[in-house]
């Protein structure tokens, strides 16, 4: 009789050793083979430094500038300081729009995205915090951040109403809370910047390949997900084509920035930021990697198709005339065109890009509404 026990024994030992030797862990200097000789280092360095880190730095700088302008307004509330504070806030919101789509790493792990960008803000909670003298560090995400500042710095009826709140009764408490929210923004964006600088950028650059923890996978996933956010939350819900709100009716109260006129430029900035993360701006990006694996779509390079679709979506967004709250009822054709364009782009990402780069779309459900 053959000695099967021995055979199995040897089999088990071999297998165990193999498994031990190969337990999955992100390796620092892995050689790419699906991606052949393609220089992932150059690509990830370029995206990491020139796109992502650059965006984060700009945002942190503008948060500091906004805090200074807001503090000046709080100290001396007048028409000029208010306008300056509003302008600085708008710049910060625009720059945040560049950072927000890249929702992985410290921005997510440390809940920065949530603290900075939860919307809508809850007005009653903000008023309650002002009355109670609670600082921004001790309130919920819907009581501060960019949308909290929007509520504190703008009024649907105009700037006179804002100034009245900072000069009349209870003005002092309001100014204190305003300052603390602006300061919190500086802290949050500063933390994001230092987290990236000190360690996350280098892990981003070294996470090569295309497994779940790789940077390529993170990028494809985060772009797919945020495109969904723009389409469903920022356009879909306001025109009644959202997940839960699909009555085809306008819902102007559901737009992103309900008081300040920032919704359209912020969406455009979102799209441009995702395009830059995809094509690496002027340097190496995922588009080059797609070219390397010869990804095709209808006889064209997939990279070109995706880039063109980004441009198409941006053009369609720019074709919407402000104010956005009115556009959602008067320019439904333009909004639906932008919606459809982004939808096509999502299909390219979730299906073609993911399939060609061997990336798994992880389907984190972050619909929110």
């Amino acid at each position: 009789m053959y000695n099967i026990t021995k055979t199995i024994g040897v089999g088990v030992v071999v297998v165990t050793l193999t498994v031990m030797a190969c337990s999955k862990s992100p390796s620092v200097n892995a050689n790419s083979s699906l991606f052949g000789n393609y220089d992932q280092t150059a690509m990830l360095n370029n995206i990491g430094n020139n796109v992502l880190m650059a965006g984060i730095t700009t945002e942190a700088t503008s948060a500091t500038a906004a805090q200074a302008a807001i503090s000046a307004f709080a100290a001396t509330p007048n028409s000029a300081t208010l306008t300056a504070a509003q302008t600085a806030w708008a710049t910060m919101a625009q720059n945040w729009a560049i950072v927000a789509p890249i929702d992985f790493g410290p921005i997510q792990d440390n809940l920065i995205e949530s603290d900075v960008d939860t919307w809508p803000a809850t007005d009653s909670k903000i008023e309650a915090a002002i009355t109670a003298g609670t600082p921004a560090t001790a309130v919920g995400a819907d009581t501060k951040g960019l949308k909290g500042l929007e509520y504190l710095l703008f009024d649907p009826t105009g700037n006179a109403a804002v100034l009245a709140k900072y000069t009349g009764t209870g003005a002092a408490g309001r100014a204190v809370f305003l300052n603390s929210v602006a300061q919190d923004m500086v802290t949050q964006t500063g933390n994001l910047q230092s987290d990236w600088k000190s360690s996350y950028l280098s892990s981003f650059e070294s996470a090569k390949g295309n497994d779940v923890s790789s940077s390529v996978s993170q990028l494809v996933n985060t772009i797919s997900l945020y495109l969904d956010q723009v389409k469903n939350m920022k356009i879909g819900n306001p025109i009644g084509m959202g997940v839960k709100i699909n009555d085809n009716q306008p819902h102007p109260t559901l737009i992103e920035y309900t008081i300040a006129e920032e919704s359209i430029p912020v969406m455009v900035a979102n799209m441009q930021a995702m395009k830059a993360a995809f094509d690496g701006g002027s340097g190496q990006g995922l588009d080059d990697l797609l070219n390397y694996v010869k990804a095709q779509n209808n006889g064209q390079n997939l990279s070109t198709v995706v880039d063109n679709q980004f441009n198409d979506a941006i053009t369609k967004l720019n074709a919407i005339n402000p104010p956005y709250a009115t556009a959602v009822s008067t320019q439904t054709a333009q909004l639906q065109a932008a919606f459809a364009s982004i939808k096509t782009l999502i299909a390219y990402f979730k299906v073609d890009v993911a399939n060609n780069l061997g990336v798994t779309i992880t389907f984190t459900d972050t619909d929110g509404d």
């Binding site: 199995i8 193999t18 337990s23 699906l34 469903n232 085809n248 779509n297 299906v351 061997g358 459900d365």
Partner: protein
Amino acid sequence: MYVSGLYQNIINKLKEPVDAASLAFFRIVFGCVMLFSQVRFLLSGWVSLFYIKPTFFFKYYGFYWVKTLPGNLMYLPWIGMIIVLILIILGKYYRVAITLFFLLFSYTELLDITNYLNHYYLITLLSFIMIFLPMNAAFSLDARKYQQPAMVSRWTLTVLRLQVGLVYFFAGLSKIKYDWLIKAEPLKIWLGACQNIPVLGRFLAMPFTAYVFSWAGMLFDLTAVFFLLNKKTRPYEYAVIVLFHVMTLWLFYIGIFPLVMIGVALIFFSSAWHRRILEKCFSWLNKPVQAAQVFVFKKHQVAFTAFFSLYFVVQFIMPLRYLFYSGNVLWTEQGFRYAWNVMLMEKDGYIDFYVEDKITHERYIEYPKKYLTPLQERMMDTQPDMILQYAHFLGDKYAQRLHHPMMVFADDYVSLNQMAGQTYIDPKVDLFKETDSFAPKKWILTQTNK
């Protein structure tokens, strides 16, 4: 005549008595693997995730009447299965226990197509077969009254081997496809994702490796049963089986399928080997004193012959039924399930629905995530019968709410094995009007990107 002589030989061989230890061995291995699997299922929180939390369930064709139990009562089938599995392992009230297991397991499987897995289907089949076999004739509490070693007809062992062998064989046959052999897809994509594994990763991710694995996998599956039947090659083949399945487990995260196959393939070993192992570990199941009664399993032989002949004819037809449909089975998925199409494709999709009021012509967009879990959505994206079912669910919902006749359209974009994505379901076809059947689904668009 030679043919009738051969036939007579086979019949005689199938009737010849063999040691019931083989059946007992299989019963205990099956019981243990399933016990592990069901306990794992419970502990992973999957009962709640798959069967309590979802608000919508994808039904199997012909089994629309199967319903979930309310709330936490849904845990009962698993508790029941764990109890009967212990009885199966011990061989106590075996016939009742295995029948209950078959019913409970099939019930949980029939609740949602989303969770269809080839190995679950195999478990259903094996537990069904085992209802009719004397798996408790030896090494069981039921058999303490019988003289040991108890003997059974060889055919009882053959049907189990045939069932296990069919899985390998058809899994191999299904790999003889252009994508698998010539393009080495989807292994090229999947192994590509393994490149960060230290030391071996870079070799695994090479396209060359994908070709080696594709061809070796095909040959391994096709030949497994023959090498297992041959006494000389059996131990080596089994070592390869263990290696092969552990590797798929490690590389592709495919749950307990590898464990099931490593377990059930042991049925090919000799009865003597089965007995040796059982006597070492399970002799306590047999009463030490000699019992007087002799185990006999000879009733209803004609009925059994007819029954298992029919059963295996069906088992041979099921994996080949895709030939009755035109187009690539991986694309249309007509005849894809119950056919041992294992790990054959990387298919990604993105779908939305539009529900249109036939009177006002207002079109409402419907996102799958509104009523589906991410897993259900992902499974539906690329599977036509699920898409159809969901379209009907939406149509009914709107018709009920708006009291108007409705139409439902799908907007689905799908890519298969690294080919450019394309529209999958005819966007002009009102799916609410279509019904599921075995007829070809004409609203699945032809695969143009190959």
